[in-house]
Homo-oligomer: 146 residues x 2
DNA sequence: ATGCGATTGTTTGCACGCAAACGATAAGAG
DNA sequence: CTCTTATCGTTTGCGTGCAAACAATCGCAT
């Protein structure tokens, strides 16, 4: 009978219970916190991109996009804006004319330590409503659905 | 000594451990799943907007934006596109000339049941890597950081 | 050697998402 | 009644985010 009720009255579907909606809300809050603490006015994607380059030293643009979880079209725009800010540079790969190698400029390199510091603050503030155990749990769960 | 090591070697900061990065990844996967099951090519925001209207019947555009967690500029675009698709309509509020009231068209109303069904499928598939308990846990944690 | 499929990067088009500035209207204080 | 403040909707500008189509180059199989 309950099943029939649900079918007739319409499925009990509450937006605020759906992961997709909650993910959007959580991302919004995180973005706001990020912006508050952002170094040099960097966006979250620009931030991730810089960190990835610093991890690997040199990368082709497409490979960088994969490392930072960005579309080819998206990573291009991000890299272009980082170039405009003078934080990254590119050179052509001698052994593969298709590739353009992306690397940090001295200014970009000088920023990395700061970025990590503010990144830690941002993560901390985003997770502030949770206990330590909950924080670990959330991270683990998010990782699982990725 | 460990603290000093960390300070000297640079803070141990792994992108894949940061909530912000994980939220982006999870959102990406959810978006892909959403698109696969999307009714009428609706986007997640359009979907949420339609559901909110169906919950309240009639709303001013700004109020609708608040209900669906969207910026004034964003909700305008979403509503415009839903109008183009013939799913919502607007009329002016007699008692307040600033307001424009948004409501579902018959076509929009006819879609709601379908939307809820596919919404349930999308949520289910997004959470598939988790056990029931983990799913409840994730939703609860996301709600807390919102 | 060539020729075909895969990869690299670019461009276009559409859809959020937010800040900031704007004109119109409403509502409350004096 | 009028002045100030708040709210409503619009527009612009910038930054993701993804699909699709494209030219250039690579690399491998034949």
């Amino acid at each position: 009978m309950e099943k029939a009720d649900i079918a007739e009255a319409g499925i009990a579907y509450r937006l605020e219970d759906q992961v997709g909606f909650l993910l959007r809300l959580a991302s919004q809050r995180h973005a706001a916190i990020f912006q508050k603490h952002a170094v040099e006015g960097l966006t979250p994607t620009q931030f991730s991109t810089l960190l990835r380059i610093s991890e690997v030293g040199q990368v082709s643009q497409n490979q960088l996009g994969r490392l930072a979880a960005m579309d080819v079209a998206t990573i291009k725009g991000v890299v272009d804006r980082l170039k405009d800010k003078g934080l990254v540079a590119s050179k052509s790969d001698a052994s593969d004319k298709r590739r353009s190698i992306i690397l940090l400029t001295p200014a970009g390199t000088a920023l990395i330590a700061d970025l990590k510091r503010s990144g830690a603050v941002i993560t901390h503030e985003t997770l502030a409503p949770l206990t330590r155990a909950e924080q670990r749990s959330l991270v683990a769960l998010l990782r699982k659905i990725t």
